[in-house]
Symmetry: C3
Subunit: 319 residues, 3 copies
């Protein structure tokens, strides 16, 4: 996270700011976004035509594919009445193929846009982009580093369900060593008192030391036993992510886990299961209809509202 | 067609319905769409800015490319003021490439959209998609099975020109065995009295037995003789489609045909030539300027109006 | 340039015209576009929501990739309230892959659109397209031939800075033999009195004889000496373009040049450096911040305003 050190704190003032990292947010900043997102949610659900960003243009430049983050930011901008300028896979486009630098690509897009949403596989690219242009850059994922709008939608979902962001028990299930989503949730929720974190993982995939604090503990298990472990911890939030094949070494059977109907029996009635999607086989489809499964019913939708809020805020149309 | 058995009939009420198959439509339902399309046509031609779908979002997910169906649905939605969320070739996108199921992809898109337009190479996929989500799904072609908006635009074009959909003589020229467009036209027009159908094809490409009724007859010919045959039948409607190379077996010369200036001489002054496009070499370009050639002048345009009508109807903005 | 011979002159009346070539423009026509572009600039910079093209649709068909021309035309249309129908790489799409001709593709797009923006690798394709349809076609680059909106934005930028388009000294640096941007600038500025042109190039890349007149002179040099040469000429405008590798023959060192901080010392305070972008290594990044470098600060932005003006004019919404 030192990568984004020099991006300024938000400190209550979003207008003109780059959104590169959740480290820029204080609890008050989070809550500002969430209260604006509440308004956006009401407007979208009532099909209110919005024109807050009429006369504005938002550039989207995604150097790696991301179906849902792209869709979410694109519709967020268009729902607010902005024009979008969309580049998916610009690496295959004429300019980048000819050797144009990220900085030049951003300066060109700046000429057409009032804010830029960037996804790029390299850690620190959002910072580089933000330094190259004078308009707000929103980081939509810079490789292993940061994906702040994902963290915001996760926290917003938790707040919506529990009514608070403190005094919660959160279990990360999968790969806390590499998984950006877990890093973001931990970093965000660590700002609130009384939260305890459990990293449920096979040996070798524990959360990096530099990310953690005393409220975090490793629960290294054979992943086949995930239900038993969850039954013992009884977390409020089960945050699930797939363990990518490239991180499996030695005895693969220890890495295999599945959240299924049996898992649901181990959880409290108030617990929730979160997943950033796409889900492959780490959660079975018979879990989906349970009200505690919030990935389709809440997280995706909240991503739209939170991104609408961010765009309205950095473009100074809400304060 | 049994694939769509369980999709409900429209029965005069479009709001919230999936549009998976022309089998859902009664003549009254067809006529409802056509009367709304008439209004849409007037508004588009007079450049009236429309906001009927302001505050709504339409998702387009095309698992196989289709230039004109995609363009047509996309502009239909945007012309009505909707935001679109567009995925072409999602199979190459991150989520589907990672192994996401069709059902999950649809549920994600549902979170951002009020209706989904789906094209997918597998018969029955529209039904699967419709079952996965709670918002209307419009089938924009599910492989060999159904393409209801194509059938609607074809019938709308015929109604516009002849003033009625009954007592017509229709000749299908090409491959009635496989060609979805012919199946749709036959299925739709069979609901009207007094229509007679002629399947002009080489041996082996006759319309499947389960699709046909007593008003349909095979006219198996050496396709070189198509003009003579059309001159004998004198159809009101010549519906043309290319015979794909993969369906040619044995003596290829029997499969070759071309609609050209000579064909025009065999047809009645009131006859029309239809083609869903793209046209390759099965109709020569010197036919295009004849008023009886309606593929560029009417069919394509009518596709826009019919799709605007469908979107307005299933989203409950027109009743 | 004989290719576009039969495209009509504009002669003060843009409505319904194809824009295939700068040869169609008189100085009065240029100035009409520029005065409308001035208005567009004001509106965009003040974030005024525009609805001039509400109820209109603009089709974009780009047979070869062009990040910035595509973005620029697409946002120009959308900023004015038009719906866009966008095809990038239609050669990979279903219809063209099946063998559809350019003429047929255009006629289909015509059915959905009120104007078409076309980019195509073949010289003369814009003329072919314009002949196929009855709505305005805007040439966004037809191979080595013409790219009129680029020329317009270049002239608009020069006018904005110098206040006039005559009595200027222009140096083309790079490859005047092949480079369409130089051909367009020369052709446009040649309509104004008192301009002198210098083609600074290695031997063999001089401007073709048929394009030039007595106000143009070759300055054949070893390109390493470009700074010295510019210091001697002291041009008002340094128009830079990369020499593509495929045009380098024999001793490659003669072809290498770079515009850098040393170049700036040779130029007058009022001189400007232009580049259509993308820039690779022919201009170093330490030049960018100099006010004389206008490629990021002016040219790109002016492309948007000029294209908005063109669309409004040919669609008859401004006169």
């Amino acid at each position: 996270m030192p990568i984004n050190d020099t991006i300024g704190k938000i400190s209550g003032n979003f207008k003109g700011k780059d959104i590169a990292s959740t480290d820029q947010f204080s609890p008050k900043d989070f809550e500002k976004v969430f209260s604006v997102a509440d308004e956006m949610k009401k407007d979208v659900q009532s099909h209110k035509p919005l024109s807050m960003l009429g006369g504005y243009a938002v550039g989207l430049m995604f150097f790696e594919p991301s179906t849902r983050t792209f869709s979410s930011f694109s519709s967020a901008a268009k729902r607010l009445g902005a024009v979008t300028i969309e580049h998916q896979n610009p690496a295959q486009s004429s300019s980048v193929a000819k050797g144009e630098t990220l900085e030049d690509s951003m300066r060109v897009l700046e000429a057409y846009s009032d804010a830029i949403v960037l996804r790029h596989p390299e850690a620190g690219s959002a910072k580089r982009a933000a330094d190259a242009v004078g308009i707000p850059v929103l980081n939509a994922g810079d490789g292993p580093n940061q994906h702040p709008s994902q963290t915001l939608l996760d926290l917003y979902t938790i707040l919506e369900i529990f009514g608070h962001l403190d005094n919660l028990k959160i279990a990360f299930v999968g790969d806390p060593l590499h998984y950006r989503v877990f890093h973001g949730q931990f970093s965000g929720l660590s700002q609130y008192g009384g939260n305890t974190f459990y990293g449920i993982s096979p040996k070798g995939l524990e959360m990096p030391k530099e990310y953690r604090n005393e409220s975090y503990q490793d629960v290294v298990i054979d992943m086949k036993d995930v239900n038993k472990t969850l039954g013992e911890i009884k977390p409020d939030i089960v945050s699930v992510g797939r363990i990518p094949k490239e991180y499996i070494s030695g005895d693969a059977s220890q890495y295999n886990f599945v959240i299924n109907a049996d898992t649901l029996k181990e959880l409290l009635p108030k617990s929730i299961i979160m997943h950033p999607l796409p889900r492959i086989d780490e959660i079975t489809t018979d879990v989906d209809a349970d009200p505690r499964a919030v990935y389709f019913s809440r997280q995706i939708r909240n991503g739209l509202y939170v991104r609408m809020a961010l765009l309205g805020l950095v473009l100074g149309k809400i304060s």
